[in-house]
């Protein structure tokens, strides 16, 4: 892989991969919902939507099909630390992809009419999410677990902010963060590196850098006692979710906790773009055996996501029809207490490492997924964190897992949420 930085501060990563006649381009921005102030929650995500609506040099009516002409797909997503855009298409579309991303960085329009039209689209997206009790519970648990850090509000934003945000709010935010010195461009696929870099320079080299964006500096104070919430709403299934403050991806306990999660709920990949498509191997995982195999829950899962700052480790379960949430929660807590008390076995450690090794292979099955991983980790922590991942996982020993379990799974560090349905 070639890594370089243009004079304007744009970091560029290029990796040749000639497996298929395809190229994938991702442009990453260090801006996500953690950068949003009260009153502007959801602005990062709304900007992402606005950045598909034409630019100075891409008229609105030419947006449709601009990459589809090359058989390509394009998309974007926003989360707590980052906003990113991608195109994957046949290799002859490389110029087109770079042109789109350079335009997106410098020349989006934010017409007032488009902003208004998109307001209702985003509110529709929010309401669609609220139709799902599990997603609603996740939002409420996160907001309860954090009382100061901006990770507390949902990426889509709070409804009142979405109703009141103005075009100028959106455009000002766009101009502040969409600058080359706040971005990383990743190219993977059937290309020649030197040629690709010349093209990158042609499209991006003339974009002026901007002042480094200011960052919110709030650090979440240490949680001092268990927090609880219960949502009572019409529904047909009951859910419980436990959230523990967890280390950032660069924290010393991140990889031990990743191992611990694999022991408890099965190893997930570390690719937010693709991992969720393949459920984890979890039939022998502790929480699966304790809950699903005993008929108390139909689903159990854990989530430790790589983040720039300390976020959450969550454990979620869906109670089987007729099973009280108390029974599910009791068993969950017993199992977590047991792992804190007794640690994990050597065999469990070995199995977790094997699972993670396999998942890291599966995470990289396409140029789109490979490019995602480079850009994601470069944006939140640095490329080295990604490249060192296999060795960091391999280096975890039993004592590390015990230390992480003690530090993270303690009662004073947890928030427990229930969705307790009311029958219609």
């Amino acid at each position: 892989m070639r890594v370089t930085t243009l004079d304007n501060g744009l970091k560029v990563l290029v990796q040749e991969d000639h497996t298929a006649p395809l190229a994938s381009v991702w442009c990453w921005y260090k801006v996500g919902s953690k950068d949003e102030r009260p009153g502007l929650t959801g602005v990062s995500h709304w900007c992402e939507h606005m950045n598909f609506k034409g630019t100075t040099n891409i008229p609105r009516e030419q947006v449709k099909g601009i990459i589809e002409q090359f058989g390509g797909s394009w998309n974007g997503y926003t989360w707590i630390d980052q906003t990113t855009y991608l195109e994957t298409a046949t290799r002859d579309a490389l110029d087109r992809m770079l042109f789109i991303e350079s335009e997106r960085m410098a020349n989006c329009l934010y017409h007032a009419d488009d902003c208004e039209s998109e307001r209702t689209v985003i509110i529709s997206e929010l309401e669609g999410g609220e139709n799902d009790p599990d997603q609603l519970l996740d939002q409420e648990v996160t907001a309860t677990a954090f009382k100061a850090h901006p990770y507390r509000h949902p990426t889509i934003g709070w409804l009142s902010d979405l109703q009141t945000m103005s075009r100028d709010d959106l455009y000002g935010y766009y101009r502040r963060y969409y600058i080359p010195n706040n971005a990383t461009l990743v190219l993977v696929g059937d290309m020649e590196t030197d040629d690709a870099l010349r093209r990158v320079d042609r499209y991006f080299g003339g974009i002026a850098p901007g002042p480094a964006p200011s960052r919110l500096r709030t650090v979440e104070p240490q949680q001092t006692g268990e927090r609880r919430l219960t949502i009572r709403k019409e529904g047909t299934a009951a859910y419980v979710k436990l959230a523990f403050h967890a280390p950032a991806v660069t924290g010393p306990d991140f990889f031990p906790l990743l191992i611990l999660d694999a022991v408890l709920t099965g190893a997930k990949g570390l690719n937010l773009w693709s991992s969720f498509r393949m459920p984890p191997p979890q039939r022998r995982a502790r929480l699966y055996r304790a809950l699903v195999e005993r008929g108390l829950a139909s689903i159990v899962g854990g989530a430790l996501l790589p983040t720039q700052e300390p976020f959450l480790y969550t454990v979620s379960a869906t109670a089987t029809d007729g099973t009280p949430l108390t029974s599910v929660e009791t068993v969950l807590l017993e199992e977590l207490d047991r792992v804190v008390r007794d640690g994990i076995t050597d065999a469990e450690l070995t199995k977790a490492k094997t699972q993670l090794k396999a998942r890291l292979v599966f995470d990289n099955d396409s140029i789109t997924n490979i490019a995602h991983q480079f850009g994601y980790f470069e944006t939140i922590a640095g490329l080295d964190v990604f490249l060192e991942m296999p060795s960091r996982i391999a280096a975890v020993v039993l004592d590390d897992v015990v230390r992480a379990a003690h530090a993270i799974l303690c009662p004073s560090n947890r928030t427990i949420g229930w969705f307790d349905p009311i029958a219609r």
Binding site: S117, A358, V361
Partner: protein, 429 residues
């Protein structure tokens, strides 16, 4: 054991090999070297159309328990075998197939294929496992009952395919039917419907095709079960009038609209014209014409799209939109308008060219991953499209004319015959 000679495609393209075993099972193998992994995709033509008429959901329940014990392996053995290799077995059911899909590291291929073969041929359906899976399925059915999107689509299918037609039944069945299903019934279902003549095993990944085929032949060659009786599907009667069903779910924030028609069979010569018509209507770029109207121009919905499922018999074309309750009527009127315009005017030459370019150009992406290739090969085999279908598909699409698309639209779409379901915080009163 002597293997039949594989038939290889003579031109470039996927060039997978296809081997028919003497017992009727088909093995398709394709070697790739992008990552040291292999996708195994075993499909048995025993989908939900094989549900006993009195027990809809039986095949789905069988899919949930089939991998929880065989005559030689306990559920624990299988779990350990999968988990220790870091792999997940996904068992899925469509109308016509029950599939076992697993991606493993290349070094584990032989053992994992043998395990999957054992699961397909010899499930033991232990009573204790069945009880647990029943509770899971019942809970999932209860969750579906709280999901406006699922309710809307399942209700639409029930209306499009009435009178117990298998396409109109819920794949998961109902809680009371699931509860009443016994081990004996599921074992009988397996005996009746699972046979080598119904199996297609696809292997794609970092394993030589000869070895993949050899392993598959070793696992399946001794499987001797006569072919099951064919499932006779009732004739599909297209709707002759506009139907509208409202399912109020007043505690929800958003309504789901499902709007549809019965269409054509996959084997119909008009299939490619219908595919392109659907692409222009509700797929191209961000939801085709429907996305342009409902999302982009009117800002009413986060999603608005259509999907076509031409199948063994006339499958559905389904239009979906998620909208706030105040916009339901306007969204349906917009769908009506787009349908009417399409039937009256067809699509433009530009739209046809764009959709053709996109669908042809998207093939390298669709065939980039092992899982993508395996899925493509399964579909090609199921519908008898040939080993070189990836090479012929572009010409099928290119040969479609504007008149073909217009004729397809007139044949399938008509707002006066549309079936519409609205589920969510909306009421006719």
């Amino acid at each position: 054991m002597t293997l039949p000679t594989p038939l290889a495609s003579s031109r470039a393209g996927l060039a997978a090999t296809r081997t028919a075993l003497p017992n009727g099972a088909v093995v398709i193998a394709k070697e790739t070297r992008a990552i040291p992994a292999v996708t195994i995709n075993l499909a048995v033509r025993a989908g939900s159309v094989c549900d006993p008429s009195a027990a809809p959901g039986a095949v789905h329940l069988l899919s949930r328990v089939i991998d929880r014990g065989t005559t030689t392996r306990s559920a624990g053995d299988i779990a350990e075998d999968l988990d220790s290799r870091g792999i997940t077995l996904t068992v899925g059911v469509t109308r016509h197939a029950l599939s076992l899909i697993c991606t493993c590291l290349s070094e584990d291929f032989d053992a994992v294929f043998a395990l999957l073969g054992d699961i397909v041929m010899s499930p033991s359906v232990p009573d204790d496992e069945l009880a647990i899976r029943k509770a899971e399925v019942t809970t999932a059915i209860r969750q579906d009952e709280d999901n406006p999107a699922v309710i809307a689509v399942e209700s639409l299918m029930g209306l499009l395919y009435p009178d117990g037609h298998p396409y109109g039944r819920r794949t998961k069945g109902s809680a009371d039917v699931v509860e009443a299903l016994t081990r004996d019934r599921l074992v009988r279902l397996h005996v009746e419907r699972f046979a080598p003549s119904e199996l297609t095993a696809v292997v794609v990944g970092d394993v030589p095709t000869g070895r993949a085929t050899g392993v598959a032949a070793r696992v399946f060659s001794d499987w001797r079960v006569p072919p099951p009786a064919p499932v006779m599907l009732p004739r599909v009667k297209g709707s002759t009038r506009r139907q509208r069903l409202v399912i109020p779910m007043m505690s929800k924030a958003q309504a789901d609209v499902a709007y549809g028609f019965t269409t054509i069979a996959r084997a119909d010569p008009a299939y490619y014209a219908c595919w392109l018509m659907n692409n222009a209507l509700g797929q191209y770029s961000m939801g085709g014409r429907l996305g342009d109207s409902i999302r982009e121009r009117q800002g009413m919905a986060y999603y608005a799209f259509s999907s076509l499922d031409a199948n063994v018999v006339e499958g559905p074309l389904t239009i979906r939109a998620g909208v706030g309750p105040a916009n339901v009527d306007r969204a349906i009127a917009s769908i009506d308008e787009e349908i009417r315009r399409l039937t009256q005017e067809g699509i433009s030459a530009k739209e046809l060219k764009e959709s053709q370019q996109y669908l042809i150009g998207a093939m390298p992406r669709a065939l980039e991953t092992n899982a993508g290739i395996a899925g493509f090969l399964q579909v090609a085999e199921f519908f008898g499209l040939g080993l070189d279908y990836d090479l012929r598909l572009p010409d099928f699409l290119r040969s479609v004319t504007l008149d073909d698309v217009h004729a397809a639209a007139r044949r399938i779409l008509d707002p006066d015959r549309a079936t519409i379901v609205i589920a969510g915080p909306y009421s006719d009163r």
